[in-house]
């Protein structure tokens, strides 16, 4: 019985078993790229990308400035893991595309790309429960479609290139405003070489009943994916957006570095759901932040499974009175993985409320880290923050860290932070096994129980998938 270290010693078979869930995304097709910016990053790379994308001059300038910022900024290894130093920016390919415009019908998508997304189940789910889908293959969207009717209501759902070129008046005023280029080294990198991603505008009062969804797929080795997403939800409008990410296993590390900005205008509601299931050699370094105006609500619901290193701290700047921000996060770190996730809650107006609930599971030699920041500056009234982070350790080689930082000025606020670390106790396992439940299943029941209250926050289709992913992860983790 039990989950002693020696029982779980990971031989090659076990390691493979642990990675089993990635098999769904673990396949590649031959590369067939008309445009390839080559290896490494310099001014020439930026100009190449601009030329291919026919970027406007202001975007070209924006990119070049960003490259300077990226080069001038040191790696944040004074607080973050030194594993970052293993990213070799000179070996990464920054732009790959076949030069085709995104297709509106799956029938027009090139066969091998279509097959990729079919194997991931994308076309089916679009028909089943989505209002629209954008599917990105390496640097650019291969497919982009939205249900009829939404367009008539004025909803815009396009990739970054279309967004900036064809709807400049809507997107340019907010572009790079929630997350400035210099926010961190990786937001600067994204600003220099971004391509693909979703630009969404939901007009006043329009409430989308079904979610919009994007799929991000890395198909080429040594490739860096740098999608850029900007979501503007106008007054009294509502949107749920979901993204799913996969990549096959490559020999060498791959980089995914996205920037996601959300603007929720007065009384708008935005829910951004991520289920990330990267293969275990992807560096996933993502900056996500939303700005909530008066009475608006932004919720980040984030599930991180897979990747070699994920660094992601979704944030909400509560800029208007009564705004609300929330981060719900589940992270599962298996052998060789480090989930470094958290939340940033910046209170910038009276009576703003933020809530962070984070649950992490460390399996085998996996490591999970929570970093949080809560900031309540001077002269505000009635701000509230609640933070809970709970960690579950599955065996004695796993590791968990928690590093929150809470700054409060003034006496009219309430903040509360609680964190705990626990494990699936031997008594609990014995009890379940005495009822005839096998060890792996008992473990997966316990883990699902641990995150049960958070899984409910995901839409039905995703919560079932999540449960399955966790079961698969746990199968590999017991002897």
């Amino acid at each position: 019985m039990s989950y002693d270290a020696e029982v779980i010693e990971t031989d090659a078979d076990t390691a493979e078993a642990i990675d089993i869930d990635r098999s769904k995304g673990d396949f590649t097709f031959p590369e067939n790229h008309k445009f390839d910016a080559g290896v490494g990053l310099n001014k020439g790379t930026i100009d190449y990308i601009c030329d291919v994308k026919k970027d406007a001059d202001w975007i070209r300038e924006f990119r070049h400035r960003a490259l300077e910022v990226f080069e001038s900024k040191p790696m944040p290894t004074n607080w973050a893991t030194h594993d970052l130093d293993n990213i070799d920016f000179d070996k990464i390919r920054y732009y790959l595309s076949d030069g085709q415009a995104p297709k509106r019908s799956w029938d027009d998508v090139p066969p091998e790309v279509l097959e990729t997304f079919e194997r991931l189940g994308v076309p089916q789910s679009e028909r089943a429960f989505l209002a629209g889908v954008e599917a990105q293959y390496d640097s650019e969207a291969a497919y982009s479609n939205m249900k009829e009717g939404l367009e008539k209501e004025g909803v815009i759902f396009v990739n970054s290139k279309e967004g900036l070129n064809e709807h400049e008046e809507i997107f340019r005023p907010w572009f790079g405003k929630v997350i400035p280029t210099g926010d961190n080294k990786f937001s600067a990198l994204n600003s220099a070489v971004f391509s693909g991603g979703s630009f969404i505008y939901v007009p006043k009062g329009v409430k989308l009943k079904q979610p919009l969804q994007a799929y991000f797929r890395i198909n080429s080795e040594n490739f860096g994916q740098f999608e850029r997403t900007l979501i503007i939800v106008d007054e009294d409008a509502e949107l749920t957006y979901m993204e799913g990410c996969t990549a096959p296993k490559f020999e060498t590390a791959t980089l995914h570095s996205a920037v996601v900005e959300i603007v929720a205008l007065k009384n708008a509601k935005v829910q951004y759901i991520t289920v990330q299931n990267w293969s275990s050699n992807v560096f996933n370094l993502v900056t996500k932040r939303g700005m909530a105006h008066e009475g608006a609500e932004i919720r980040w619901i984030d599930c991180n499974i897979g990747s070699r290193l994920t660094m992601k701290y979704p944030g909400v700047v509560m800029k208007g009175e009564g705004a609300r921000g929330e981060v719900i996060s589940i992270a599962l770190a298996n052998d060789g993985q480090h989930q470094d996730t958290g939340a940033k809650m910046i209170h910038a107006a009276n009576n703003t409320t933020s809530n962070v609930v984070s649950k992490s599971i460390s399996v085998g030699e996996g490591r999970s880290t929570y970093r949080g920041q809560v900031h309540i500056p001077k002269h505000l009234k009635g701000c509230k923050n609640n933070t809970e982070c709970d960690a579950l350790l599955i065996n004695s080689k796993s590791r968990t860290d928690t590093y929150p930082a809470i700054t409060v000025r003034g006496n009219d606020h309430v903040t509360q932070h609680e964190a705990s670390v626990s494990q699936v106790s031997e008594e609990m396992l014995f009890y379940m096994q005495q009822r005839g439940i096998g060890e792996a299943e008992a473990m997966s029941l316990a883990v699902n129980g641990f995150i049960n209250d958070l899984v409910r926050e995901f839409p039905m289709e995703y919560s079932v998938e999540l449960k399955r992913l966790i079961e698969l992860e746990m199968e590999g983790s017991v002897g």
Partner: protein, 249 residues
């Protein structure tokens, strides 16, 4: 056909707790084990169920001829051994219904799915016997349960899993008289010629409601005296002290 324990020796952390215990529980019979605190009663149930903390150093235990010690904890359970715990563990976030379903599902051949409608119907029927509220199914296993609720839950699981042999470890502890009657009702409803019971208790009280066929007295890791139901009454009257004298003599 019986649960047969022969010359069983077992250690915890190097200390011998069971010192040559022998006992046979044929199907259709209810046996009670009584004994003072520290006599090894609870150890016996944990050893039979296969808890990791206990090391079997000698002796055997078979269930209908099958060696228990060859089986993992969950395999023993599926083979028909049930332990109603004195202190049932909490399983946060896992509902009672899902837990029982998983336990029932584990008993089905691979590829066969449980019939959810039938399952719920059966569960509600048994909950009614135990006077349990329907809301109970959605609560997490044993989490925040009162002592009485935990014990009822143990009996519900026992009824749902229909084992061949049931070990009841101090099931009466922490129960008021009304709860005790309900629990006993559940146990008595399960008495059958195809099922054996081992009731472990410190007090005679439980045996007023679950009438045993045989009573054994355990002391210092062994059965030191066996008799019929009247032995329990004798113990209630005279305590365990006279036993010590008898053993010493």
């Amino acid at each position: 056909m019986s649960l047969l324990i022969e010359n069983l020796h077992a250690n915890v952390d190097g200390t011998e707790i069971l010192k040559g215990l022998s006992l046979e529980i044929p199907k259709g019979e209810v046996h009670a084990i009584m004994g003072p605190n520290g006599s090894g009663k609870s150890t016996l149930s944990k050893v039979l169920a296969g808890h990791d903390d206990y090391e079997v150093t000698a002796g055997s235990a078979t269930m209908d001829g099958e060696n228990l010690f060859d089986l993992e904890v969950d395999e023993r359970s599926r083979a028909g051994l049930f332990l109603a715990f004195q202190y049932p563990a909490e399983v946060p976030g896992v509902s009672n219904a899902n837990f029982l379903r998983a336990a029932r599902q584990a008993r089905l051949p691979k590829g066969e799915e449980i019939d959810a409608v039938k399952f719920y119907h059966e569960m509600y029927e048994k909950m009614d016997v135990l006077e349990m509220d329907r809301k109970f199914t959605a609560r997490a296993v044993n989490e925040g349960f009162s002592g009485g609720e935990k014990k009822r839950n143990e009996i519900l699981q026992m009824m749902m899993l229909a084992p061949k042999y049931c070990l009841l470890d101090e099931t009466d502890s922490g129960l008021d008289i009304d709860a005790l009657k309900v629990v006993a009702k559940g146990v008595n409803a399960m008495r059958s010629p195809d099922r054996g019971f081992l009731v472990i208790t410190h007090y005679q009280r439980l045996l007023d409601y679950i009438e045993p066929d045989y009573v054994h007295v355990m002391s210092d890791g062994k059965i030191v005296k066996s008799g019929d139901k009247s032995l329990a009454l004798e113990l209630e009257e005279n305590g365990y002290d006279f036993l010590k004298e008898e053993v010493a003599a």
